[in-house]
């Protein structure tokens, strides 16, 4: 937000690069590929859903962009650059189960973590950071529980704490991994509202999501993923019965089989 990678002069002559590009990305756990040759380009602003069955590699797709899993092949570019150069512009909300909610911190402590990367070494969060964190909490409707220990929140509140922490990062590109898991209908509506506000502010919001109906309702564009990219585009055009059958019913067992063969160094039948 403070410094755009492209100067104004550049952006007049050449259009700014898309916010997120996957080029032929393959990811393997051990030797077994779980994502095959993903090619996907997403431009800001958008609220973009990643949809697919369990084990389809949706979370891995996010982690690949965030440098949390090594790529076996291909590359990811964010705002036209490698991740390391634009980390400050990227926010991440991991799955809620990925952390220990009994950890001795309160809600405000967690949201303040969103400001840590920008602060740099040896500097402590002070009044401006606290103010920002409280603003972010207000935005997700949790200002009144700022001093509560995080383990005493409901699932929906915990998700919103994570969302507030990502907001405090003041990113231009947000990745959210299953932000609606374990969230009641009212919180879900509130979270979607914050996300679409972010989109309206010109940001790119990528969410891994499992509910087709709310995905069709809230997301501008979606990608159907099942180890490979099945389809991408506007929700209405992608979430067709034919595509869903290709994703959910007719899983490409061949990818599974080849993956197993690669892992074991053998051959498929």
């Amino acid at each position: 937000m403070t410094s755009r990678p492209l100067s104004t002069a550049d952006s007049v002559s050449t259009p700014s690069p898309p916010a997120l590009e996957y080029h032929d990305v393959t990811v393997a756990y051990g030797r077994r590929p779980v994502l095959w040759n993903i090619d996907l380009v997403v431009a800001s602003p958008s609220l973009f859903g990643i949809i697919g069955p369990n084990g389809a590699g949706k979370s891995t797709l996010l982690k690949a962009a965030l440098g949390l899993v090594p790529l076996s092949g291909g590359e990811v570019r964010i705002f036209g650059r490698p991740l390391a150069e634009v980390r400050g512009r990227v926010g991440y909300v991991p799955q809620r189960e990925s952390v220990d909610w009994d950890f001795p911190v309160n809600v405000l402590d967690v949201v303040l973590m969103g400001t840590y990367a920008r602060l740099g070494w040896f500097r402590r969060p002070r009044a401006p950071e606290r103010l920002l964190a409280m603003e972010c909490l207000e935005r997700v409707g949790l200002a009144d529980v700022a001093t509560r220990q995080i383990g005493r929140l409901s699932g929906g509140q915990q998700q919103r704490v994570f969302l507030a922490r990502a907001l405090a990062q003041r990113a231009d590109l947000y990745f959210l991994d299953e932000p609606m898991a374990g969230v009641d209908a009212r919180s879900q509506e509130g979270i979607f509202r914050v996300l679409s506000d972010l989109r309206d502010e010109g940001k790119l919001v990528i969410i891994v999501h499992h509910d087709l109906r709310s995905a069709a309702e809230w997301c501008d564009n979606v990608a159907l993923v099942d180890m490979r990219l099945v389809a991408t585009g506007p929700a209405a055009a992608v979430l067709t019965p034919a595509n869903l059958r290709r994703t959910y019913a007719g899983r490409l067992d061949v990818l599974d089989e080849i993956g197993r063969a690669v892992e074991e160094g053998g051959r498929t039948p």
């Binding site: 980390r87 400050g88 991440y92 990925s98 952390v99 950890f103 402590d109 602060l119």
Partner: protein, 423 residues
């Protein structure tokens, strides 16, 4: 040379210093759910120390610290290799790597014990009582110097280094401990922090070796931090409290060992264990005592409310309450209700106006819930009473109002009895 009081003071100071260093490091191990790593490292450093001493290092010297840290890193590396290359589960891999290294250390130290200045018993259990006899002169600002135990200097140096590191890198340490994935995505040096914690654990362990030995150092690493985690809800408060518990436990433990003439390190570990026990008993909210108090006070409230409702129903049906038999527990609640001005004693208890008001609300809650269940859940009539008998104690005014609106128009419960008004 010291008089005997001064010697004890130096021993206590040494124990307190290494306890502080261990509690500081242990706090991070405990919240990261890596307490066993502390156990493992404290054992795995042994061969590194022995080899360093064989190579001419002095106990507590730089060479010994380097050897210990190297051994810890080797052990963690082996665990990692066992997991990634041999497919062994993390805990099993650690079990193999650390015990093998420890055993190697034991074999080494026993085989070469005669040749080096390292006593197997000291390595395992520590000899806190002998710490004050091994001193080095420390120059004073003025002329002359003072003899300070080497183990104290070592512990103080390690404590200073670790404290400085924690204060300077607090953000990074906290973020990576709580949410390593998000921290890594935000560009925090997560791997470096993990290695740093490993090194810190090795340093704290080696510094504590002479005082408490390889086995009991685990108590200093884990127990104060685990107790502190039970007691407070903020991480920095927890760290300070863990250090306080560690230091006070060492002082008390040493004094107790002196009084009863037993092993100081063992006594310190016992006192730390008792501190943990106290914390588990007295912890706010989740502690044993707090839970008993919560449960019993609920039981008492329910009994009082049941007593009031009983009297109200007796008034409603015109039966004298003195005819219903009462247990001794109910007699006590009746006395309490009389003391609080809710009933007057006599004729088995009569409601005062205030008591009648409260009793009416209980009965209203009861019958509203029966009416709601009757409408929304398929239950036979005689199954409605038990759930209402339980839920009546937990309904507030707002929810009563919502239920009343939902069952609206009905001023009788499914048994045909009147639902009394809110006021």
């Amino acid at each position: 040379m010291f008089d005997s009081g001064g010697m004890h003071l130096w021993a206590i100071a040494t124990a307190a210093t290494v306890a502080a260093a261990c509690a500081l490091t242990g706090s991070f191990l405990v919240v990261r759910r890596m307490s066993l790593l502390g156990d493992a490292i404290s054992h795995a450093v042994l061969p590194g120390i022995v080899l360093a001493v064989l190579a001419g290092g002095r106990p507590g010297g730089a060479l010994v610290f380097a050897g210990a840290v190297a051994a810890a890193l080797v052990a963690v590396g082996i665990t990692h290799l066992l997991r990634t290359r041999a497919g062994l589960a993390e805990d099993a891999g650690a079990g193999v790597a650390f015990t093998t290294l420890f055993a190697t250390g034991v074999v080494l130290v026993t085989a070469v014990a005669s040749r080096i200045d390292l006593d197997p018993g000291c390595v395992l259990y520590g000899i806190l009582e002998l710490v004050p006899f091994d001193t080095v002169p420390v120059p004073l600002p003025g002329p002359g110097s003072v003899e300070v135990p080497r183990a104290f200097l070592t512990g103080a140096a390690v404590l200073a280094v670790l404290s400085l590191a924690v204060v300077l890198c607090w953000k990074e340490l906290q973020f990576t401990a709580f949410d390593p994935d998000a921290a890594r995505a935000a560009g925090m040096p997560v791997a470096a922090v993990s290695v740093g914690l490993l090194v810190a654990t090795s340093l704290a362990t080696v510094a504590s070796f002479e005082a408490v030995g390889a086995i009991l150092v685990v108590a200093m690493l884990v127990v104060p931090a685990a107790a502190a985690e039970l007691l407070v809800r903020r991480f920095h408060v927890m760290v300070v409290l863990a250090i306080t518990l560690g230091v006070s436990g060492s002082i008390l433990g040493y004094l107790a060992a002196w009084r009863w003439n037993t092993n100081a390190a063992g006594m310190i570990a016992v006192v730390l264990g008792m501190e943990y026990l106290l914390a588990a008993l007295l912890a706010p909210g989740d502690g044993v005592v707090a839970r008993i108090v919560t449960r019993e006070s609920l039981r008492w409230r329910v009994a009082c409310e049941d007593g009031l409702a009983l009297l109200w129903r007796a008034e409603e049906s015109g039966v004298s309450p003195s005819q219903t038999p009462r247990s001794w527990f109910d007699q006590w609640t009746l006395l309490w209700l009389a003391f609080r001005g809710r009933v007057t004693l006599g004729e088995g208890g009569l409601l005062t106006p205030q008591g009648r008001e409260e009793a009416r609300v209980i009965v209203r809650s009861h019958r509203l819930w029966e009416a709601w269940l009757g409408r929304n859940v398929e239950l036979p009539l005689d199954h409605l009473h038990p759930p209402a008998e339980w839920v009546e104690h937990h309904l507030g005014a707002a929810v009563r109002e919502r239920i009343a609106a939902e069952v609206g128009g009905h001023d009788a419960d499914p048994h045909g009895r009147e639902i009394p008004p809110e006021r």
